[in-house]
Every structure is written in C-alpha cells, then in structure tokens.
Symmetry: C2
Subunit: 283 residues, 2 copies
C-alpha cells in the first residue's frame, strides 16, 4: 500500500488514516474534503500528508469514502470514474441499499467494496479521529461477490490488520437490522434530549440532578445532524417501522402505569433485562 486517499477527513476517515499509517508507515495519505478547514486541521494533526482532488485518484491503491451517505451517492460513481483498474474503494456509510444500487451497473463496480464499520463516537471532525477506533469492532460487508477477488483480499487484509471482525450481509438485510440496533437508538436519544431540554429550558440548574444514567441514554443526541439526516432519509421505510414499534411499546408501558398494573410494569422490565445476556455477547 503506497498511496491511500481518504475522502472525508472527519472522525471515521481520519481514524482509518491514522491506523493505516501505523500499519503501512511508508504509504502516503492524501485527503479530499469539501471543507477546507478540515483539510487544514487534518494536516496539522498528522492525519494526512497532503491534500488532493478526485482527479488524482489514478495512482490510488486504496480509496476510503467516509462522508455523509447522500454525498456518497454522488461521489462514489465519480470516484469509480477516476480510479485505475488496480484501485480498491470502500465506503463506511450507515446505509447500504441505495449506495449499492447507485453503482450497480458502473463499469468499475468490481473495484468497490460496500462496507459499514460499526464504530464511532458522538463527536465529529478531524480532531475527533482516534487511533485504534476499529480494533475489535464489527465491519459489515455487503455484496462481497461483486468485488474483484484480489481487491477484496487487499481490503480484508487491512480490516484484519485493524483488528476488525467481518460479517457478510445483503444490503437490504443490513439496512433493516441496522435500523433497530443503531438508527432507532439515535432517534430515541435525540428525542430524549429534546423532551428534557424543552421541559427544563428555564431551569438550567435542574441538570445538576442528572446522573450517569441520563448521560448514557442521551449521549447519541450529540451526534451530527449532517451525518444522520441523510441516513434517515435513505433508510426511511425501515426507520419508520422501528419508530412505530418503539412508540407502540412506550404507549403500552404508559397504559400499564395508567391502569396501575405494576405487576405488568415489572414484567416489562424483567423481559427487557434479557438485553444483559445479549450485550455480554457483543463485547
């Protein structure tokens, strides 16, 4: 790996750049970003060696696309237009169906690997990038059979060096399940933040009462709207389905409380406790 291009030098792209540099110390890392101050910051903190543009991609061994998923729909075909036969491109988007469809018939489709590394924090931008972000994290790969074998191999070798575990899924299944285990969590957290802020706007010191439990459930409400809006847009149908079920479960819980059926309230929580065993499986 001599020449790596990172499109989007924020948390996700920047963290890839840092670890790739660690694994291949002699490779040169180029950054592409519409945000000029992010490029400047990325150079300052040592994420990239130099700025570049899409026209420079001919020389790339690897292109990492880590930008909002609406931008990916536009940029990915253009990237494929500009690379060489030997370049492997992967993205890191939280939706996969629309992105895979977008390049389904592109002559360079076999140079693209559809990926979703399940990693991140609630922060964004180059300064949020961290070394080791991907260690022990899951990377979901879609339509692997549509990527050229030797190029798959190069990407998979990198993911293995980063310490990631790989799961293969089709894009439809990815988008459906990720709505439950990621997209819904973000909405539940954003709306929890909204509910409390609205109520307590005139009583700022009330937040002195908030403990680590509140902090944990509301953490994702710090996430970037620019990143999440297009995710919800592309995964609209699945996300609305999860929201319907979540709202219906909340209404049922409220109904049980109104009916003073606290045995059933207990049972609801006891059933949800089952998440303990499931989460133990994650780590």
């Amino acid at each position: 790996m001599n020449s790596v291009f990172v499109i989007g030098v924020g948390l996700i792209g920047g963290s890839f750049a840092l670890d790739i540099k660690g694994i291949y110390p002699n490779c040169k890392i180029f950054g592409i970003d519409t945000n000029k101050s992010h490029l400047q910051e990325a150079k300052e903190v040592g994420i990239i060696d130099a700025e570049a543009s899409l026209q420079d991609l001919k020389s790339a061994d690897l292109v990492v696309i880590a930008i909002p998923v609406d931008a990916t729909l536009n940029v990915l075909p253009e990237v494929l237009d500009n690379i060489s036969e030997e370049t492997i491109v992967f993205d890191a988007g939280s939706t996969k169906e629309d992105i895979c469809l977008q390049v389904k018939n592109h002559p360079r489709r076999r140079n693209y690997l559809a990926a979703h590394p399940i990693a991140g924090t609630e922060f964004s931008g180059p300064k949020a990038a961290i070394k080791g972000l991907y260690k022990n994290k899951t990377n979901i790969i879609c339509e692997v059979e549509d990527t050229a074998f030797k190029l798959q191999e190069r990407a998979l070798k990198l993911f293995s060096d980063l310490g990631m575990r790989i799961r293969y899924m089709n894009p439809k299944a990815h988008d459906k399940h990720i709505a439950y285990v990621s997209h819904l969590s973000h909405i539940s957290s954003f709306m929890l933040g909204k509910t409390v802020i609205e109520k307590e706007k005139n009583e700022r010191d009330i937040f002195d009462m908030a403990g680590s439990g509140f902090e944990s459930t509301v953490r994702l409400a710090k996430s970037s709207p620019a990143m999440w809006t297009p995710i919800f847009q592309q995964n609209k149908t699945n996300v609305i389905e999860t929201l319907d079920e979540y709202i219906s479960n909340l209404k049922h819980f409220k109904k049980l409380m109104e009916n003073e059926d606290f045995e059933a309230v207990f049972k609801e929580m006891e059933d949800a406790n089952h998440i303990k065993h499931i989460l133990n499986g994650i780590k």
Copy 2:
C-alpha cells in the same frame, strides 16, 4: 461515628458502607437485609462487620436506608420508632414526596434526613458495591429544615467527606424534575431493549451489528425491576407526563420523516445537540 447501620446491603447501601469504613476506620458497620444471602455476601466482601435487626438500632449513630422505595415507606417509620434521640437516619430513594409524607408527623421526624444521592450503576446486589461511588456526585436533600440541626450537620459532614455536592429542593420539585432526568431515561432504555429484542429474537447474531451507541442507550435496560417498579408507582403522575411528551416528540419526528421534511428532521437533531453544552455543565 461508632455505630452505623445499613439497611439494604446492595449497590447503594454497600457503597456507602465501604466509604464510611474508609472515613471512620474504627466504626462498626451492621447490615440489615431481608435477603439472607445478600447479608452473607456483604460479610464476605467486607461491606459489613455483622448482621443486625431493627431492634438493635438504639445504639446507632447513623442509619442508612437503601432499599426499594415501597419498602422504605414501611421500614422508615419502624426505624424511627427504634432509634435513640441521637441517631441520624437518611434514605437514598429516587422518590421523595411519598416518603416525606409517610413520616411527616412521626415523633422522631427530626432524626430523618430525606436524601437522594444521584449515583449508581445498572448493576445491583452487594457485589456491585464500589468504593468512591459518591465522589463528585450530587446529593439532593429535601425538607432539610425538618431535620434537627446537629443531626443535619453529622450527615452533611459525611456527604462532604464522601466528596458529594449538595442541592436542596422540596420533595414535589424533586419528584417532578427527576422524572425527566432519570425516570424517563430508564423507560426509554427499557423500551428500546424490548423493541430490539422482540424484533430480533430469531436472529441473535444480529446483535453483532450493535455498536457502542446501542450499548450506551440500552444500558439502563439492565436495571433492577424490583427497584424501579415502586419508583414508577410512587412517581406515577410525573412519569406519565414525561412519557406523554416523549411519545409526542417521537411521533412528531416520525411525521416529519413520513412527510419527507428532512430539513425539519435536521433541525430537530440540531436543537437536541444543545444537550452537549448542558452535559458539559454536569461533569
């Protein structure tokens, strides 16, 4: 402080016991608990020196009550019946109005300090007790003026030695605001856990897709139903109000998605981002 009684030797009571022993190494700590195996465990892990019963409270300098809030309603009057004039009693319950009402006219009311230390984890039982749990945490004290001055002083000295910051509130305001910054978070998390478990019950490996974001929002769904059911029962009116607002915010978000008004979706999240500044204030 020579003689301390801890009623309920779980996470909260046990953590008090550990730190009190650290501050007053010569004091003797007695445990009272209806769960005999918890008492046994508490002795084994060094949380308490000996078992005791409510009839032994005459000699107590301090009694800490850390049991579910429904049990507190029964036990607190009995504790006050059994203590001496020199004993200070505080509880750690997550509701304050019903508990304060319960002992409003008790002849020993001035020996009681209504407290709510905002601290804990999603775990429970003596083995979940940890040293330093209360350091830099908020302790909400209600109706402080109803506690005898010299006894207030003894409790406040302890809280100060534990590193806690004190906030004074009336019980009604406590119960109203804590519904937003604590009780609602728990329900949002329990129901998130339920929604995902129901959907994914036949596809356990889907949880491989879950990342730290899901883990953070669903963490509180591991909490004890035995502790939380009576909290929701005692704070029913306030909790239902917060649930109404939360559900209405979620429905509005869903409506915006259905209408494909993604500018408004962006705005919703941007507004909720404000929680960043508020949470920075907490730490």
